[in-house]
Amino acid sequence: MGPMGPGNEYAPEYRLGRRAVLSMSASAAAVALAGRAAAAPANTLVWDIAAGPQYVDPVMGTAAQANVMVVQNVYERLVWYDGASETPIPWLAKSWKVEDNGQRYVFELLQGIKFQDGTEFNAQAVKFSFDRAALMDDPTGIGSFFPTGTAAPGILKGAWEFSKSFGAGKDYSQSAVDAYMSAGGVKVLGPYTVEFNLAQPYASFISDIATFMGSIVSPSYVTAHWKRPTDGHGFINGATAGARDDWMLYHACGTGPYELATFDKATANIVLRANAKYWGGPQGKIKPKLQTVIVRTTLDQATRLLDLKAGAVDIADVSTAAIFDVIDKNKWLNDSKIEPIIAGVSVPGPFPWLTIYFAKMNEKIQNPDGSPAAFQPFADNRVRKAFAEVLNSTDVRRNVFNGFAEPITWGLTPAQFGYDPKLTKSYSYNPAEAKQLLLEAGKDLGFSADHPKGMDIIYNAAAPWQGYIATQVAANINGLNIGLQMNVKALSFTEYVNSWRSKLTGFSIHSTFSLTPDPNSWLSAFGTGAGFWARTSSYDNSKADALYTQQFQALDPKQRAALIAQMMQLVNDDMDWVWIGAATAYGQPTFNPNVLRSSVKGFYYNPTYQGFYFAALWKE
């Protein structure tokens, strides 16, 4: 056979036929042409949102803010806001009277309004909507009608006893349902008259039912898709106690200017269609001009920016961190003027908004087994003041939030009732004074430059802005070299929450958003011993608790404001909270500021709105 052997290297002249190459490039071009992103027609609005809605049933909780944006455009309420004004006016109701020292409200309803399924809006629909919310008792929702965390007796008569507001041993039997219904929280007095009986006087009742919590659903639509429970839960016709309504999670039928056309669970995209038979609102002047609104969930930040720059969308969420891709950095930071650097785009704001950033110090740090930790630095108010004085809120507002945050005197934002600019804080950025305080405190607490103590600052790895602040505080404290060696730890969201919720950590950074301009949720959370944030910082001031309950029931706004101011000053003096700032980038309903194409007209700011009110918008 010889060394060569018949099997050998084989290299024929083999070239892709010219025909093959031509046909491949032709088909590629065809696909590209078909895929041209048609610019949205004039009466259609396309919005790239950072986090889409998870479900749209108004009684459910609001883990994703986008849920309430949909609710706002599809459902309506007995009272709502006229344009930019912040005082509620009668909407679905003609008028209302307050009796029995603020514990009874009677509403006269408008007649002739139809739901999107054609059925009549009446008192029975109002009663059904509120009873349904109370009975379904979603833990994240408004089960005890309303504010979470209030002690008994709750608001709506019978609601607290039914839901025991997150207490143990929930009883969803038929007898518990009947007990609630007979308590008469909501009563139909006539076909277009409905009465609310409250367990205690409640100053914010009107402003609360003006939010998504007061949405009126069409009883016939809900009942048509409701199935009688087989697991022994009590029920009324159309609503099962203590259970979710799987149909209403992804469908909606209200009286609002827009109908929910499609809700795609996989993409979390929704499409709203204008309600042709919309009754026009109280003054009959609302006519939805945008025929179709498409909300597309786009996780990737850079893709949203690309869509905006390419003109493929009308509104895009841009994170505050990347805002300088859209507006000029120096003009904004130095002369606080918003000047877009992308053609044909506008950035609404800055507006006071319903998100605040703060740090908290836990006076009684615990070990994982619940026993108090040996080293309790934050029990000493000198240490609390020192830590408050090394957190440079001004620098953070400017460089971390890119200037889209304003100083606040308490855990409220200027957009909320009861905010008091004149309130005094007993700390300001002053590292020198902090050093003295820590040197003194070190003598009692046993730390000094030569035998230092280690301390951790934790933050949520999914929120880089918290990392920024944590690193700044750690760097400043370490810079003082007074014997406290700070270390920054990025934790997963679960570990981060578990550690501050079970009081394992001393110093931690947070943000929180409110869905209603009413101050109650934050007043109770920060000011009352049982409050959500106070509980985890072992903060309890009985005088503050008392003031909270008084303002809760004070019907006269001026008197209520004075009580709130007194309470806030009291809490500030205890120095458990470091108020960093309130967000001012207009980014409802997501954290990321919305950037609009200039062709989108009719936008106005109202802090009570949960995201855009599409009926007011149009495109040129």
Binding site: D300, A302, A321, A322, F324, D325, A474, V488
Partner: protein, 272 residues
């Protein structure tokens, strides 16, 4: 040096990798670790200039030093992961191949791990263990050793049938000595040939894990988290994506070029 001329790609790859390895090695000495903690928000995301050759990152730190320090960390992590995975894989593969009793069980175990994509299993492990380079490395070793085990087993099965092995057994050489003294040295080459490309793959996987949220936090200079952070500022500060991204790209490209040559050089079928 006809070898050099014929394998231009592999040589280029080797040179680039050597340069990066060198920079990574000297980084901790040339640059103080304090840079990582030297946070100044005031001048974050400034453009490359005289003071900062690569500009600054989103914490206001000098990007050039971060990239160099990251080179040290990422390469050490990637190299140790592949080394550990290869070591485990080779030993297990040799045992599986040589001792018939162990073959079936070990192969089923590798099947289990091979039927879960490495990025997915690494994600699951890191999501439970939590974010840190150590956890990421553990996860990546767990997902990488089976490939080496499978490859090694194949080699050992063919090697076992060679006459010299039968001869040695008749001379009374025990299993362990046979495997470690004779079998492994002779079958190591094609298995190790995979290593360079796998180091490149690990770098890419670590970057992907950072992008989807497993970055190890601000105080750990790591290419993946730098690029992932930079992704949000693609128009405003493109250098934050370009430089660390280029570092990952160049390193994995060079490793893949060397890996491609190594795989062909040791692939028995391609011996021409």
């Amino acid at each position: 040096m006809t070898w050099m001329r014929r394998n231009k790609l592999a040589v280029a790859g080797l040179l680039i990798f050597a340069a990066i390895l060198l920079m990574g090695a000297i980084a901790p000495y040339a640059i103080s670790a304090a840079v990582v903690r030297n946070v100044q928000f005031a001048n974050k995301l400034t453009a490359p200039d005289g003071a900062h050759w690569f500009g600054t990152d989103d914490y206001g730190r000098d990007l050039f030093s971060m990239v160099l320090l990251a080179a040290n960390l990422d390469l050490r992590a990637a190299l140790s992961v592949v080394a550990a995975a290869a070591a485990i894989g080779i030993v297990m593969g040799a045992l599986a191949g040589f001792i018939d009793r162990l073959d079936e069980p070990l192969m089923r175990v590798t099947d289990i791990f091979l039927s879960i994509p490495s990025l997915v299993l690494a994600m699951a492990i890191a999501s439970v263990l939590g974010r840190s380079i150590q956890n990421l490395s553990i996860a990546l070793v767990i997902v990488s050793w089976p490939i080496y085990c499978r490859l090694m087993r194949g080699q050992v099965l063919t090697e076992k049938r060679k006459p010299y092995v039968r001869a040695l057994t008749t001379l009374g050489v025990g299993h362990m000595r046979m495997i470690f003294r004779h079998i492994i040295p002779n079958t190591l080459a094609p298995v190790v040939a995979r290593a360079p490309a796998d180091v490149g793959l690990i770098l890419i996987t670590m970057a992907a894990l950072s992008y989807i949220g497993f970055g190890p936090g601000p105080y750990v200079p790591e290419w993946g988290s730098l690029v992932a952070a930079g992704q949000a500022y693609i128009f405003q500060a493109p250098w934050l994506v370009i430089f660390p991204g280029a570092a990952i790209f160049l390193t994995s490209l060079s490793l893949n070029l060397v890996g491609d040559w190594a795989r062909d050089a040791f692939d028995p079928r391609l011996r021409t």
